[in-house]
């Protein structure tokens, strides 16, 4: 682990307790396992000297909707993320690449139904791939992490995601692990009827997840007009010339664009 990675690790370790606190304040019966930051974020030795972190499978136990009384939904989130030093405009570190897999499981009569699975990616190289995209697909194997974290023996009842067409790449926003956590708070712990304290806790969750910025700043084609203000996903396909990418990146790595498929 190099010095920059150590520094990033300290930021991750600082953000994680705030995330846990915010989620608990939004819904006191919610749970996150594992709880310790040192069990969640693992620095990966990289020959490029990159600040790369694997995010161990984390299980969030939340209600389906904020008004529900029982936390019967298990959401498993895993992935990895690579950080790079701040750009000139913003003092926060930035994302270089990421990949995230998410599996939703609903508890029903002592079994689990796999009700949603998705894989979020970033792709700068392969033709036809929008830079940030989602592929809906079964993540049923993530059930093993629920059983491990909860010392349980849930069986998979139905895999409702198994017939989804995997080759559909939906252009999306940057859905790194922290974006997914923010989404979980918004989807399952917040409603229009939530109390001011819950809204405040959600603000805290967003703040805790905002200690870095996205990867778009180092991609010229996302920073040129009209992409900069249009946001139509047609611009997500434009290709940057490699010289421009290498020039913008403030890296401690090679500056080579890569595919960011999650590794299993």
């Amino acid at each position: 682990m190099n010095l920059e990675t150590m520094r990033v690790q300290t930021e991750l370790y600082t953000a994680w307790p705030d995330i846990r606190t915010s989620i608990r304040r939004m819904y006191s019966a919610s749970e996150i396992r594992p709880s310790a930051a040192s069990d969640v974020f693992h620095a990966v030795n990289s020959c490029d000297g990159e600040a790369r972190f694997e995010v161990a499978p984390v299980v969030f136990r939340v209600p389906e909707r904020a008004r529900c009384q029982s936390a019967n939904l298990y959401v498993v989130v895993e992935g990895w993320i690579v950080f790079t030093p701040p750009c000139e405009e913003d003092p926060r570190m930035t994302t270089l690449r990421f990949s995230t897999a998410v599996g939703y499981f609903r508890q029903k009569s002592g079994k689990l139904d796999h009700v949603f699975g998705v894989h979020y990616d970033m792709e700068e190289v392969l033709p036809g791939h929008p830079v940030f995209h989602a592929q809906l697909a079964s993540q049923a194997t993530l059930i093993d992490h629920i059983n491990e974290r909860y010392n349980s023996q849930f069986e998979l009842n139905e895999d409702n995601a198994k017939l989804l067409l995997r080759s559909v790449r939906v252009p999306i926003a940057q859905m790194d692990v922290f974006s997914v956590i923010t989404q979980l708070g918004a989807d399952h712990l917040l409603s229009s009827n939530s109390s001011p304290e819950v809204f405040k806790a959600f603000s805290g969750l967003r703040r805790a997840c905002d200690f870095f910025i996205g990867a778009a700043n180092h991609l010229p084609y996302l920073n040129s007009e009209p992409a900069r203000y249009c946001y139509r996903s047609t611009h997500w396909y434009e290709r940057a010339d490699k010289g421009a990418i290498a020039g913008v990146r403030r890296d401690f790595g090679t500056g080579t664009p890569r595919s960011s498929k999650i590794r299993r």
């Binding site: 606190t21 304040r25 310790a36």
Partner: protein, 366 residues
């Protein structure tokens, strides 16, 4: 000029000689302006609860009691009964046992204090406790209006300590406060039933709750604040380096309530110093957090630090403290696990040593 307003400290023991020595040690440790030391040697003809009422009426701010008080025939008297009675009055109580040292667990319930059995250590502990609760109460009273607008005890504590941004970390230590002290919960419930007039002073209750959380959890189980021994583990070094590290990190020392029981250190300030040690340098690689921390501290000190006594890595790694075995551990899976059930949620620098965990996993596991 403000008139001195000494606090009343009550010492209760059925061992007359031990009581006398403890009282003497306390009177040496604090001035008469700071505290009046009252002692009680219970005998058969005493009325147990009347005496407790008398101490409360005298303005007791801290009570230190032996576990067994029956030597002179006062049946029904015990440290547990003293503890329970004063808990309901929101007066901190510490319990010790010289005769039956193994009868008391070393880590007390949240709203009880564990007093060392040696007289000098007991006296130091009592003084740190007295001053800590008093400092906390003074801080609360000096910012009464501000505190009344705050929405959580963690927010109050973080702001009182001048570190509002650490609220989230402190909040994790308080995740299950309601399940930690039925007596305190009863007081809260009582206010709901009886109405506002019967409510105890809110700052008194806050000082009582936050004082115990700070003294019994946050300062005991390292997270945002490190004790001297936790600092040694964090820096992957041996305990004997404590004095050298105290000199090195004097600017990071925690000076808030209960600091007399220290030294304690702000971890974020320690981190800033450690990163500054390598500022602007490239090509530096470390396998674990502990290795980096020690290397940075060694650079700041200008010499090597002693290794701790871990048989797995020969004292090379570290970075975390096992609160069960009281030894440094590292984050590598073969060394330790987080075992969240038995470590307060905010104690990010605590991990359970793997060997111990393997033996007790059915109990210590998630």
């Amino acid at each position: 000029m403000t008139e001195p307003n000494p606090s009343v400290v009550v010492l209760i023991d059925d061992d007359e000689e031990h009581l006398a020595r403890l009282g003497e040690s306390m009177r040496e440790a604090v001035s008469a302006d700071e505290a009046v030391i009252e002692t009680w040697f219970p005998i058969e003809t005493d009325n147990f609860y009347e005496r407790l009422e008398e101490f409360k009426a005298a303005g007791a701010k801290l009570v230190i009691s032996d576990l067994d008080l029956t030597r002179r025939g006062l049946t029904g008297s015990s440290g547990a009964a003293v503890s329970s009675w004063f808990q309901s009055e929101l007066i901190p109580v510490g319990v010790f046992s010289v005769k039956h040292a193994t009868m008391l667990p070393s880590v007390p319930e949240l709203f009880e204090l564990r007093v060392p059995t040696e007289v000098d250590k007991a006296s130091s502990f009592a003084v740190a406790t007295l001053r800590g609760f008093r400092q906390l109460r003074e801080l609360l009273d000096s910012r009464r209006d501000e505190v009344s607008s705050m929405r959580s005890p963690a927010q109050v504590l973080a702001n009182l300590l001048g570190r509002g941004h650490l609220e989230g970390q402190f909040a994790l230590y308080m995740a299950r406060l309601g399940a930690s002290g039925s007596t305190v919960t009863d007081r809260l419930r009582g206010t709901a039933v009886s109405g506002e007039d019967a409510a105890p002073d809110r700052n008194a209750m806050l000082a009582y709750v936050l004082g115990h959380v700070l003294w019994n959890l946050i300062l005991r189980f390292p997270g945002p604040i490190l004790s001297a021994r936790a600092l040694c583990a964090y820096l992957a070094t041996a305990r004997k380096e404590s004095d050298a590290l105290a000199g090195l990190f004097v600017d990071a020392e925690y000076l808030g309530p209960f600091c007399d029981g220290g030294p304690f250190y702000w971890r974020e300030d320690i981190d800033s110093r450690l990163y500054a040690a390598f500022d602007g340098e490239g090509g530096i690689e470390f396998e674990t957090l502990g290795l980096f921390n020690r290397a940075a501290a060694e650079r700041l000190l200008g010499r090597e630090l002693a290794r701790h006594e871990c048989t797995r890595c020969d004292g090379k790694n570290g970075g975390f403290l096992c609160p069960v075995t009281d030894r440094p551990v590292c984050e590598l899976a073969e060394c330790s696990v987080s075992a969240s059930s038995w470590i307060p949620a905010g104690a990010e620098v605590c991990r359970i040593e793997r060997n111990f965990y393997e033996e007790w996993a059915p109990l210590l596991g998630l």
